[in-house]
Symmetry: C2
């Protein structure tokens, strides 16, 4: 009996060349397909919802596959996690299956999704704190030297919410798409003193979280939006300038592409 199974997946992207399978690179999709093919005793192909880049993380990636897998869906997460965490005391691997669930036969993880939320993590102010960047955070956030003006970033973010042609926030050289109009439902910026920093430096470091929800995202869109917001926070550009940047439809008018390690695919929405 063939079943259509939907996986919810968390992964640390640090050690992977992204999600999408590639012939000669270690990818999240490639690892999971090899594992599932072994468990199911037949070749499994995963339909992932989002092709995260090398170094980008996920807390709620989704992928579906059709298989006559002998393991019932309700036991599959456990069976997969045991294999993914092998050799670790009480441990966990780089990938963890958060849920496996049987879906109607016509369900497709990507085509049926209605939107996504990404989170981008920044730690700012290591220059002023005198601490330098932190080796333990290097794969998990964007460490910016200057403290950032979070209020200016929030103001700038307000111009990005809504339905716009976001061509200025699409990586140059991307495959042309039918439309570069997208809707961002919300764009929140939280700023708090950094946790786990030493008493001497704690007061000076900022943990800034950029949280964006939308119906779809262009290639590198969240990273370019974040890079642009960081430049607003550094007072290199004004919050109001974002309006003109969007209207220009010109990638070269927007800011730099923030590095991959700060980006987390947080959740995918259905219905």
């Amino acid at each position: 009996m063939f079943k259509n199974i939907l996986l919810t997946i968390a992964y640390d992207g640090s050690g992977f060349s992204g999600w999408q399978r590639q012939p000669n690179a270690r990818t999240v999709c490639g690892e999971l397909e090899a594992l599932l093919s072994d468990i199911c005793g037949a070749l499994v192909q995963l339909n992932g919802c989002s092709r995260t880049d090398a170094g980008v993380h996920a807390k709620g990636q989704r992928a579906s596959f059709i298989s006559d897998c002998p393991v019932p869906a309700e036991r599959l997460a456990r069976v997969m996690n045991d294999r993914l965490a092998k050799d670790r005391l009480e441990g966990v691997g780089e990938i963890r299956i958060l849920e496996a669930k049987e879906m109607p036969e016509d369900f497709h993880a990507r085509f049926d999704s209605r939107g996504k939320r990404y989170v981008y993590r920044i730690r700012a102010g290591w220059g002023e704190a005198g601490s330098g960047p932190d080796v333990f955070s290097r794969n998990y956030c964007y460490q910016v030297r200057e403290k950032l003006d979070a209020e200016a970033m929030k103001k700038a973010a307000s111009y990005i919410i809504g339905t716009h042609d976001f061509k200025c926030f699409e990586a140059a050289g991307s495959t042309p798409r039918e439309s570069t109009v997208r809707t961002s439902y919300s764009l929140e910026i939280d700023c708090s003193p950094a946790q786990n920093s030493g008493p001497a430096t704690g007061a000076a470091l900022q943990d800034i979280t950029v949280r964006i929800e939308g119906d779809g995202f262009l290639y590198n869109m969240v990273r370019i939006i974040t890079g642009t917001l960081v430049e607003v926070g550094q007072r290199k550009r004004s919050p109001e300038s974002i309006k003109d940047t969007i209207a220009s439809l010109d990638r070269s008018r927007a800011g730099h592409t923030a590095p991959p390690q700060g980006l987390y695919l947080d959740e995918i929405f259905y219905q």
Copy 2:
């Protein structure tokens, strides 16, 4: 003019086969010696203070070397960090030099040290929280399924403070030493709700920090003490039983060896 230079070093041990140089493995000492030899234009040998194991981290490792390095000590940290962080936007490598300082010619990083502090990080309670272990913490703490009784662990820790023959906490098969008597100056246990865990699970997860200072440590001593304290926290052994365990001088009477990724060499003391 030959100078004696002392480095203070932080590193993420996840990707290294430990500190000590080895012919066919990537080690922290090996990487730094290669870099320093290149910068100084002559072979450099580092005298490290502590031989951390594979996967163990450091926030304050110390190592000294003698060289006629053309870079002045006050510029050396910056020159090394630029090379260690190459290809990263505002970034940092796996190793970061926190300080480089010229010392008297008879100074030696290991022989002149008077003690060390280690920190061991535990995140406990993922079973009850229903969250499972976290992929992003897997290289940085010991993720224990059960919530732990921190008060019992503190009670147990009180028996470990002071001067004792700690043979029961030395890895079996270690090279015999002149003496297995050591003094632990302090052993603190802090327990707080885990940070950065989701709102649903935050209340149930514990971040537990074991902080131990002493004049010296036997091989795997901190990890065996931590494993024993975790078993007290799981109520598998009583706090008072630690007295008999120490008196037995028998490794098999102590608890399991906690995994390497939770351990941080925090600071080394001089004078």
